[in-house]
């Protein structure tokens, strides 16, 4: 009864083209934003922030980035972990080389550096497609991890080979380092998420998004209607890597605090983010968030149930967690290959007619 578009008339094309054309959705969105910014910091405790909310926000950005490349532009990438490492190491080098630079700029610049690296590794996409491109990006993943391991300059010649984030503040509050306040980190990451998600939505619904999707759906036809494949694919690589770089920088500087490249940004990270967008829904902004929430929440939830409720030993719980998450992914792909976003769309279609389906 509540979810209605009857009587919600659009009188201009601009109104029809907005992100949430249905009034109810629009209000829902603004209420969600208000809750996240104002009520969120008040009610979420430190454990939830660290275990669930912060990783969810950061991986959402990475998922958005990969979804732009794989979901919208159709270029499969297994190099996400490597690109996140580029963002992390760029932010580390920037933080240590320019101690006075504001952390927000450091994060954005790290994204920029990653974008350049992304363009470089995107060049093969002009010649190769599909699985072959996936293998090429896999090479990027291994090369980048190897690079950050082998060249001491990247970790400032530290004995452990680790990088650790020095303390930086924003408006006087510590956001990285030992004294970081989880709630400030939360608001900081949330701001990035909201701005980047808004930008991704605008890019994908406009002319540029149509170019990406045209290349994805039929590259020959796209070229014949005037899409420059070189420029379009490289733009997708650049923007995608920018997002992933920011996610990597945030993960290192704000969330982890210290990182060792093989462990924090290995191939498992690439797969994790890829699973997020496949489960959430390829070519969907909402799907990026849904997938990130699923992949972050499921393990935490299962751990709470097994260890907290049923009193299993932790190692057994950890193994069962893998089994169940893996099983769920398979069941999911069989039942709804288009991901959570497609489920959400179907639910909305049904709600529009409910309770009078005829």
């Amino acid at each position: 009864m509540l979810y209605r578009e009857a009587g919600d008339f659009k009188t201009s094309y601009a109104k029809d083209q907005q992100t949430f054309p249905i009034l109810f959705d629009r209000w829902g969105y603004f209420i969600m934003l208000a809750l996240a910014f104002i009520v969120g910091p008040m009610i979420i405790n430190d454990y939830w922030l660290n275990a669930v909310v912060l990783p969810f926000l950061i991986y959402s950005i990475a998922a958005l980035g990969l979804n732009i490349l794989t979901g919208y532009c159709g270029q499969v990438s297994l190099g996400t972990g490597g690109f996140m490492a580029v963002g992390a190491y760029a932010s580390y080098k920037l933080m240590t080389s320019f101690p006075d630079l504001n952390i927000a700029f450091v994060i954005i610049l790290s994204g920029g550096v990653t974008a350049l690296v992304g363009i470089l590794f995107g060049l093969p996409s002009l010649r190769i497609k599909g699985f072959y491109l996936a293998v090429a990006t896999l090479a990027a993943q291994f090369f980048l991890v190897w690079l950050f391991n082998k060249v001491p300059w990247f970790y400032n010649y530290s004995a452990s080979g680790q990088i650790s984030a020095p303390e930086r503040t924003i408006f006087g509050y510590a956001i990285s380092g030992a004294n970081a306040l989880p709630h400030i980190s939360y608001l900081f990451c949330l701001t990035f998420v909201v701005i980047l998600a808004w930008g991704a939505r605008n890019l994908t619904r406009g002319a540029n998004g149509r170019k990406w999707m045209a290349i994805r759906d039929m590259d020959i036809a796209a070229e014949i209607i005037g899409v420059n494949p070189l420029k379009t694919k490289l733009t997708a690589f650049a923007i995608s890597s920018f997002y992933i770089g920011i996610a990597g920088a945030l993960l290192f500087a704000v969330y982890l605090g210290a990182a060792e490249v093989g462990e924090a940004f290995g191939i498992t990270k690439s797969f994790l983010v890829l699973f997020m967008i496949i489960i959430g829904g390829l070519g969907s902004i909402f799907g990026s968030f849904a997938g990130a929430a699923f992949m972050i929440l499921m393990p935490v939830l299962l751990k709470n149930i097994f260890v907290g409720q049923m009193g299993w030993p932790t190692d057994l719980a950890a193994h069962m967690e893998f089994v169940i998450v893996g099983g769920l992914i398979m069941v999911f792909l069989i039942l709804e290959p288009h991901g959570l976003a497609a489920l959400w769309r179907t639910a909305k279609e049904k709600l529009r007619l409910w309770p009078f389906p005829h």
Partner: protein
Amino acid sequence: MTQTETYQTPDGRTIGGAVMEMKNITLRFGGVVAIKDISFDIREGEIRAIIGPNGAGKSSMLNVINGFYHPQEGDVLFHGKKRGPMKPHQIAKQGIARTFQNIALFKGMSTLDNIMTGRLTHMKSGLASQMMWWGKAQREEVENREVVEKIIDFLEIQTIRKTPVGRLPYGLQKRVELGRALAAEPKLLLLDEPMAGMNVEEKEDMSRFILDVNDEFGTTIALIEHDMGVVMDIADRVVVMDYGKKIGDGTPSEVRQDQAVIDAYLGVAHD
């Protein structure tokens, strides 16, 4: 006929000079000669049909015109100027649009978005502007949406505006594809078998749209078609190809009486 000469069609339209001239085009794939020494022109405002049996090289000819294939010999002249080696997307910007024999729509996008892709050559806002949906990007979206809505009205596909094209029946997909090509406001429109696989009614609709496009927008059209009835009815001039060679060129009635054309279509008695 020289380039500036005009001629009158039986129904009273004036056809202008050549938009596109093909001069001694030869196209080879390895040892296979797909097109052999063919010359013809397409004139402003006319409907030019290319016909011929299967494998005659008709689609290859369209691919040469929009730059997908590069002929080994011969020149392509667009508006009287010789065209150098260009990529298909550059040629699209010059004002040549086409549809495909096997539908080549973007299956994951709605009808509206598909036709909007046809406007891409007219949209020039920068990435930052698009990312913020501000200023030029927003203005362009609305302006181009207006053009696209006119095409949607023209093709009578208002009700499927927001339907993903993958869900549409074949005839409508063909119509959406025509819409996408029209959205570019091309100077030259290439149609590769626009009526393949359609029933009589759909063919009549499509013929009407093609004639209307030519009539209302004055678009020059080159089309490949197998249905002789349709070609004879709507084309102003016809090129006939067989085994990569041109065997006839002229008005439909001239071509119909040409012995070489009759032989190619009906076969020759070797006695």
